[in-house]
Amino acid sequence: MSTNIKYFGLLAEITSCREESLGNSPSTVNELLELLFEKYPGLKEKDFRVAIDQQLVTEDARITGGEIALLPPFSGG
């Protein structure tokens, strides 16, 4: 099962893509973040929330497929 991840705002600049597919899917958000922090160390310093299938989740949430989004706060106006 592959997992699709969307990066919003400045997170997409760190990952150099707005969307990508992870081949080996981690089973919790915590595992996913570990994996992403290794791939993109710059993500570690950023604040963001994680959503699975358009629902905000906490870090211990299980990933059972669907679309994952990483959402940082915007301040601009």
């Binding site: 310093e45 950023k46 358009q54 915007f74 301040s75 601009g76």
Partner: protein, 359 residues
């Protein structure tokens, strides 16, 4: 009611809906990229009372997206300048300009006078301040924020829905988020997002269903696509805001607001249009200042003399060095004269500037 005929003819609005708009009051905090387009459509729609709060002056780099201004308003206060332009668009409504900074000390007072708050600010501090004050006042906030090509829109504190703290508990650490003016923004993006915010305001006033509460709209101008993220209410975080109610003014979370009334430099004050200087020193104080648009009202008699002050003008108060004039500004604002400044450096700074102008 010819002005609103295109609304009244809609069965979803009708004369009743237009009356609701006319009876409503909306405070727009920030007359920048988001506030400008939102204000245009709220004013055009006939929202009866509109507040505009912004302490910034119009700069040339604003004109790439802040479409209420122009070269003729460079250097003037945004709230006052926006009010002037909007009064022509719809003279039948009331527009209040607040050329001041929203602070923990004045937020509850100022926002309590309005039904709905539109957040068009450009920094996290004021966004959390607006959210917390609105929670304490039980008023909905239409949130909008932008980053380069992307925007976020949602409604907080609406009928028991989530608040900003349910989405992001606390402001990010300083280094984590770049400042808007450092990163740039596609000029038309705040146009789209600001109009979407005005739309949510109007939907709430009309009592329409499907208000964007509990859902964050994420818009990307590159794809023109929209996605929605559901936000659940977090009772703990909301309770915390209420628990800290008493200390709201004293120690607003991470507060680094200056408590100062709005100051203006001598240079900017002398360039300002429609200005009224008030010399609040005691008679006989030096240096002697002669300016055509200047009246003398000593600080001690300012409150009794409020009626003599033309609140349509931009008021610049000055004393000898710029200390007492801050008190004068606070006093004027308490008396609902909001477009007023304290002159930085006072008469001591003003005197040489006038002399160099005469030369």
């Amino acid at each position: 009611m010819n002005r609103y005929s295109r609304h009244i003819i809609l069965s979803e609005i009708g004369p009743e809906g237009q009356k609701k708009l006319s009876a409503a009051s909306v405070m727009v905090v920030g007359a920048g990229g988001l506030g400008c387009p939102a204000l245009q459509y709220l004013v055009a729609a006939g929202v009866g009372t509109i507040g505009i709060l912004d302490h910034d002056l119009v700069e040339e780099s604003n004109l790439q997206r802040q479409i209420l201004f122009g070269t003729s308003s460079l250097g003037t206060n945004k709230a006052v300048s926006a009010k002037k332009r909007l009064a022509d668009l719809n003279p039948s409504i009331t527009i209040n300009a607040y050329p001041i900074q929203l602070q923990a000390q004045n937020a509850l007072d100022i926002l309590s006078g309005y039904d709905i708050i539109l957040d068009g600010t450009d920094n996290f501090e004021t966004r959390y301040l607006i959210n917390d004050a609105a929670l304490l006042l039980d008023k909905p906030v239409v949130f909008g924020a932008i980053y380069k090509f992307e925007g976020q829109v949602t409604v907080f504190n609406y009928k028991g829905g989530p608040s900003y703290r349910c989405l992001f508990a606390t402001p990010p650490a300083g280094s984590s988020v770049a400042n808007c003016s450092e990163v740039g923004v596609l000029g038309v993006l705040p146009g789209i997002i600001g109009c979407m915010q005005a739309n949510e305001v109007i939907k709430m006033i009309l009592g329409m269903e499907e208000v964007l509460s509990g859902k964050l709209l994420c818009y990307d101008a590159r794809s023109a696509g929209t996605s929605f993220i559901s936000i659940a209410r977090n009772e703990d975080r909301i309770k915390q805001v209420f628990d800290e109610r008493d200390s709201f003014v004293q120690n607003h979370s991470g507060s680094n607001y200056s408590c100062e009334p709005m100051e203006i430099s001598v240079e900017d004050a002398l360039k300002m249009e429609d200005v009224q200087f008030i010399d609040i020193r005691e008679p006989g104080e030096l240096p002697f200042i002669q300016l055509p648009e200047c009246i003398q009202i000593p600080l001690g008699s300012l409150e009794q003399s409020i009626s003599e002050i033309n609140s349509e003008k931009n008021i610049v108060t000055f004393c000898r060095s710029g200390i007492r004039s801050k008190k004068a500004v606070s006093l004027l604002i308490e008396n609902n004269i909001t477009n007023c400044y304290s002159l930085k450096g006072g008469a001591l700074a003003l005197e040489p500037a006038i002399k160099s102008l005469i030369k």
